[in-house]
């Protein structure tokens, strides 16, 4: 049934009514991990969620520790409360054959054309076509009817290309519609454009609390807003709580080395290390202040900011469940992000 969504409340910036969640971010910010944990959060409480990758990296198989995904939707994980996350790795060649089959009943000729290098040709000569096929398939999954009415999936989460390529990726369909001014491509592209620009699609931006990722996030937010896409949440990944308390490090970065030495003298740590440890503490404080300032800059986007903690190396399925909690509304939803201690 359409509207029997499971009992789960989502954090600010993750709209309940969105069919498609697009997750993008600068390379290296962990957008794949974020997309996977967002999918788990959306699935919790009994929902069916499809997690889609389009870059041929088989990143989800690795993350969920399952064999490489075929070009078919396959269960990846169970979510708390009976939900399920399915995974799909979209391959442009298969998507093309699907496409021809679905709309023209031309599966056999499509295969023949594939043999003579049509896909290579099309994706090389008009690379936008590749993105059109990928987004077309995403749209098909997002709006696919379920067997019992409603939609096949309660939500689709797309691990999208990085911020540098996200706008061309999402706009490829519009571009190709411009090239093909009439004809079936033009007609079909309208559906994709409509979905991507409607409020049923939100784009979440993943950043790290560091300068360049923050700058790139600000630029991407501006670009996407100007292109009339809807932004969801700004997700700051790998934040760490500031361990410095009160006045332990002065605003100019000074640490009372003698006090530190007296404290260390009561432990098994060599007090002679006080100077080095004080310097390290001072650098740490400066780094944290810088991170905090970076996060403040993100507020200019005007979207809710979600901070995810930094976990030990190698996020596995267990950590994904932990991270997914950050996409759910908590009792004290107004809780300050981990970084917000000055």
């Amino acid at each position: 049934m359409l509207d029997t969504r499971g009992a789960r409340r989502l954090a600010a910036g993750i709209p309940e009514n969105a069919r498609l969640h697009v997750v993008t971010g600068k390379g290296g910010t962990g957008k794949t991990t974020v997309a996977a944990s967002l999918a788990l959060a959306l699935a919790s409480g009994g929902n069916r969620v499809l997690l889609v990758e389009v870059e041929g990296r088989q990143a989800f198989a690795q993350l969920f520790d399952v064999p490489a995904l075929p070009y078919a939707e396959q269960q990846l994980a169970h979510a708390p409360g009976g939900g399920d996350v399915y995974g799909l790795a979209i391959d442009p060649e298969q998507a093309f054959i699907d496409y021809l089959d679905m709309f023209y009943n031309m599966r056999r000729s499509a295969r023949a054309l594939n043999k003579i290098g049509l896909i290579d040709f099309v994706t090389t000569l008009a690379p936008g076509v590749r993105d059109v096929l990928l987004t077309g398939k995403v749209k098909e999954a997002a709006l696919r009817a379920g067997t019992h009415g409603g939609y096949a999936y309660d939500a689709v989460v797309l691990d999208a290309p990085p911020t540098g390529r996200i706008r061309p990726f999402l706009q490829a369909t519009a571009e190709v519609a411009n090239l093909a001014k009439v004809g079936p491509i033009n007609r079909q592209s309208k559906g994709v454009i409509d979905l991507l620009h409607s409020e049923r699609t939100v784009i979440h931006l993943v950043a790290l609390p560091e300068e360049m990722p923050v700058q790139e996030t600000l630029e991407a937010a501006k670009e996407l807003t100007e292109a009339k896409f809807h932004l969801g949440a700004i997700i700051v990944n790998r934040t760490r709580p500031d361990l410095v308390r009160g006045e332990q490090v002065s605003p100019s970065g000074l640490v009372d080395t003698e006090s530190l030495q007296r404290g260390l003298a009561t432990t098994s740590v060599d007090p002679a290390l006080a100077q080095d440890l004080a310097r390290q503490l001072s650098r740490y404080a400066r780094y944290h202040q810088q991170q905090w300032r970076n996060i403040q800059l993100l507020q200019a986007i005007g979207r809710p900011i979600l901070s995810l903690p930094d976990l030990a190396i190698g996020v596995t399925a267990g950590e994904l469940h932990e991270l997914s909690q950050y996409f759910l509304a908590t009792e004290n939803a107004s809780e300050e992000p981990a970084q917000a201690s000055a």
Binding site: G27, G28, T29, E55, L100, Y104, S109, L113, I116, G117, L118, D120, F121, T123, T124, L125, A126, P127, G128, R130, P161, P162, G164, R165, P168, A172, L179, A180, K181, V182, G183, P184, I185, M212, P213, Q215, E216, E219, L243, V244, R245, Q248, S259, L260, R262, G263, L264, T266, T267, S268, V269, D270, L273, D276, L277, Q280, R283, Q290, I313, G314
Partner: protein, 388 residues
């Protein structure tokens, strides 16, 4: 600093060596490729070599780091470097236009520029960046100054922020495969054969293609594609020859690849793929740069720092206020040390794992700095670590 069994990568010698003419930095996104390229170029320039650094980065990060307001398609002098360092950012469309102009008549170039397919291709072509980076690299390598000498002693190329770092190597071959493809032959066959004499088989396949194109894309688009392919055909030869030539340049003595990573599983995995690939292609690998390596104060392990910090926190509660301040400060300093030392231990583990499977790859580590690089001094600091 390097893990057991790893050789130390000697970049100082490499960049000063007159035999080194091209350095290509490659690696996955966000690992500090651009900064590494710029720092190496700066160091080489300051050692007296006429150096140009070519970046292909839409975020204009190099411009930021070099204090340049903007980079365009020609090398610009970086002020404050004694005139030896130039930097440029690839303008994909302009480079493509130049290639078309250089390889066809003015009338044909005009027809190509006006074709809507060319417009889409030259600005949004996946892989165009890689082709054009190669093209530009070839141009820079051949550039001469007014005396007829080679313009550059050293060219440092920062590869595009590809989905996969391997795209850069694949681009010229993909172009070759594309041009040799049967489909392109079909589409250009009518022109080649004077429009009448081509084989029946070709006719049959061509009509299927035509049918699909007009059915799927619409007839008008097919016309655009056909005229585009026809008008490009004449210049394909030259274009392809150049791409092949540049690819050979990458294999030639004097070219060195520097693979860049961070001590994280994904970045190192990507670096591994790249190293295997370079080996398979007989491309010269200088070694691996591992950026953002955590370094903690030596003398206390992460574990002992954590235990002591915990114990201090317990005693702090019962202590008098003056002593409590000392204990709290020591506790914080040790908790911070625990965090940094844990990160440092993890980084070393990652690097050791990598070295274990790539014992012959020379490596240099660059410590994590508290803030990003925005100026020449920042680049010099990075360069010092790279070449220490």
């Amino acid at each position: 600093m390097t893990g057991l069994g790893a050789r130390k990568l000697d970049l100082a010698t490499l960049i000063k060596d007159p035999q080194t003419r091209i350095i290509v930095t490659c690696g996955s996104g966000g690992v500090g490729k651009t900064t590494t390229a710029a720092a190496l170029a700066l160091k080489a320039a300051e050692a007296g070599r006429r150096t140009v650094v070519l970046t292909i980065d839409p975020a204009r990060r190099l411009a930021q780091a070099m204090g340049l307001a903007e980079l365009d398609n020609t090398p610009r002098e970086v002020s404050g470097t004694g005139g030896n360092l130039h930097a440029m950012m690839l303008d994909m469309k302009r480079t493509f236009d130049d290639v078309v102009l250089a390889n066809s008549s003015p009338e044909r170039a005009k027809a190509i520029f006006e074709n809507p397919f060319y417009q889409a291709l030259s600005s949004s072509f996946a892989g165009t960046q890689e082709y054009m980076a190669m093209e530009k690299l070839g141009q820079l390598r051949e550039a001469q100054n007014t005396n007829g000498d080679e313009a550059w002693d050293l060219i440092v190329v920062d590869t595009p922020p590809s989905r996969s770092a391997l795209d850069f190597l694949d681009a010229p071959q993909r172009l070759g495969r594309f041009l040799d493809g049967r489909l392109i032959k079909l589409l250009t066959a009518p022109a080649r054969a004077g429009g009448k004499a081509y084989l029946k088989v070709v006719t049959a396949s061509f009509s299927v293609v035509t049918k699909i194109f007009s059915k799927v894309l619409g007839g008008e688009l097919l016309g655009d594609v056909a005229s585009f392919v026809a008008s490009l055909e004449a210049m394909f030869g030259g274009f392809r020859e150049r791409a092949d030539h540049t690819y050979q340049l990458l294999k030639a003595p004097g070219t060195m690849f520097v693979v860049v990573a961070t001590p994280e599983p994904d970045a190192l995995r990507e670096a591994s793929y790249f190293i295997e690939r370079l080996r398979a292609e007989s491309m010269p690998l200088a070694g691996l740069v591992v950026n953002r390596v955590h370094v903690a104060v030596p003398g206390v392990s992460a574990g002992r720092a954590a235990a002591c910090a915990e114990e201090l926190a317990e005693r702090e509660e019962k202590a008098d206020p003056a002593t409590a301040t000392d204990l709290a400060l020591a506790s914080t300093a040790l908790r911070v040390h625990n965090e940094i030392a844990t990160a440092a231990e993890n980084d070393q583990l990652m690097i050791r794992r990598f070295s274990a499977s790539h014992a012959d790859v020379a490596t240099v580590n660059v410590p994590a700095l508290p803030s990003d690089v925005h100026d020449l001094d920042g680049l010099r600091r990075i360069a010092t670590f790279l070449t220490s």
